[in-house]
Subunit: 329 residues, 2 copies
């Protein structure tokens, strides 16, 4: 394999090609079909891209060497999507029926379990001398991701949550896995602790920017570009950053309650979405979110500012952080 | 900790006491409460008992040293029970509501996921030099267990299955984890490959004896001693060894179809159970099962006959195999 070009397309192309080479035992096709269905579903491959890019930037070596760990992180991420979709009773994932709809809940549970074990098997292919540390980080991260999902589910039954609680939830549910991917890339490159820590923090901040932008897109995105219906979070009264901040304002909180009471009475989705957006707009929450996401992206850039690397690599990481905060889909 | 006495009570007492010392983070009580509920539910602790006994027999050292691996295997086993109960829509586990009934399916899925990762964390506490091998065996075993559960679910929709398919299913779903526990105990004792393999085979055969006896107890057990209702397998037309063998006989297979057709019409559970038992009895399947289970127990004894160990230890393993094949509960 040639040396890394520092583009998302290069790294994600390598990931796609490695994913397509995974072969599953023929013994239990019913167990593996939902796994390849899930992995074939596309997605940004952001986590393995980050892992490979950090590895390439720090080591200067071809990415093949760190591919098992990259696939482990992607496998783990897809396992969480599969189980989350059962828990959230979601119909659609990446434009296709979720596994528990295409098959059933039992299939989704069991295939998800298998993906979690497969991710551990992939991770275990890393060099022997980094296995204890890599496994410890991977498992700690997994526990944090479950805690994030647990918080997210608990938030559904709460009337409001604080901004701090919201940020802690997205840190656990989304950011730590991006951070883990970055740190595993640095570990595979045999970097010292300072470099690992810098990339871990970079991943955390990139994740916060990414998830806040996700909230923004669900309310303010262009459905034609975003590829999803707009307003799902509003209809589900999801405790997003926008909702959280609106609740800090006494009048806005009252207006939200009134809007949802009206929706309960008339079931008019369009009216509810328009009313809630108006409340958010009155507090300029869309703009404030964009600015806070940009701050996280700037923090991410700062996290790696003192790390020595090729300028193409630095530019790659910097623009990835900016894109996380400003992307349209 | 003192040296091992070779009794099930000694080893299971050590396991119970270690389980009670596990402390969970206070950050996400909703995630951990179902885990301690599950682990507090008792059970035979057969897998960790086996692991510790093999470790003690081979190394002569105090069991504390192998406790993390023992807890890993028990944690994994309880994770499978938790998810299986969701998939099988089972109400009761060890005399108490299953987790997905006491809480809900989402809680059961997420807490089960956490238990799988916790089991990996426990396993990772083993000595660094055996980690790659221990993890590889643990993960391979986990994949086999999922395949066993997958087969078990597929069997539900099939009219009949061959004895060979049935045996392969229980090997995967039950036996390989007992075998893995034994091999991990030998690994922790730094034994050579021959010893590991002998104990692995011992665990496989013990598992087959154990599971066949389980099928027998569900049809012929004394409910007062067994602690469960008798006949659940018959009512669910479960593809047990008894059912499988009955289907090999053309007349018995026809009689089974007639009995289930009658049950579909009248819903009389007692009548169905009596009719199916009569079919089994006409072929002496109860006795044949008991004799085949005894053969597996004898195979298990033979597997370790050439392994050097204290006579108390050998007596322990031999009687454990016999008990698996003849137990009343």
């Amino acid at each position: 394999m040639e040396k890394a070009e520092f583009t998302v397309d290069y790294f994600s192309g390598e990931v796609e090609s490695a994913l397509s080479r995974i072969s599953y035992p023929a013994t239990a096709p019913g167990l593996y079909a939902p796994i390849s269905y899930t992995l074939d579903g596309g997605g940004k491959r952001l986590r393995p891209v980050l892992l490979l890019a950090v590895f390439a930037a720090v080591s200067g070596r071809a990415v093949e060497e760190a591919m098992p760990q990259a696939l482990a992180v992607e496998m783990f991420h897809n396992f969480t999507l599969l189980h989350d979709d059962v828990m959230d009773d979601a119909d659609i994932r990446r434009g296709r029926p979720a596994v528990h709809r295409r098959w059933n809940a039992s299939v989704a549970i069991l295939s998800g379990d298998a993906m979690l074990t497969l991710s551990s098997q992939l991770l275990a292919q890393c060099p022997r001398h980094i296995l204890p540390e890599a496994l410890a980080l991977f498992n700690t991260t997994a526990m944090e991701v479950y805690q994030g999902q647990q918080l997210d589910m608990e938030f559904q039954d709460m009337h409001s949550v604080s901004e701090a609680d919201y940020l802690e939830m997205i840190r656990l549910k989304t950011s730590v896995l991006l951070a883990c991917a970055c740190a595993l890339g640095a570990m595979a490159a045999d970097s010292d602790n300072a470099v690992r820590k810098a990339f871990y923090e970079y991943g955390l901040n990139l994740g916060l920017a990414f998830q806040m932008r996700d909230d923004w897109l669900d309310t303010y995105g262009d459905p034609a570009v975003f590829g999803k219906q707009i307003g799902g979070d509003i209809l589900n009264r999801k405790k997003t950053w926008l909702y959280t901040k609106a609740c800090e304002d006494v009048d806005a909180a009252k207006a939200l309650d009134a809007a949802y009471a009206g929706y309960k009475a008339d079931g008019d989705e369009e009216k509810l979405i328009a009313a809630v957006r108006e409340i958010y707009d009155s507090l300029e929450l869309g703009e404030r979110l964009v600015s806070q996401a940009a701050n996280y992206a700037a923090d991410a850039r700062r996290n790696i500012a003192c790390i020595e690397m090729d300028e193409r690599a630095r530019e790659f990481f910097n623009s990835l952080a900016d894109k996380a905060a400003t992307r349209d889909h």
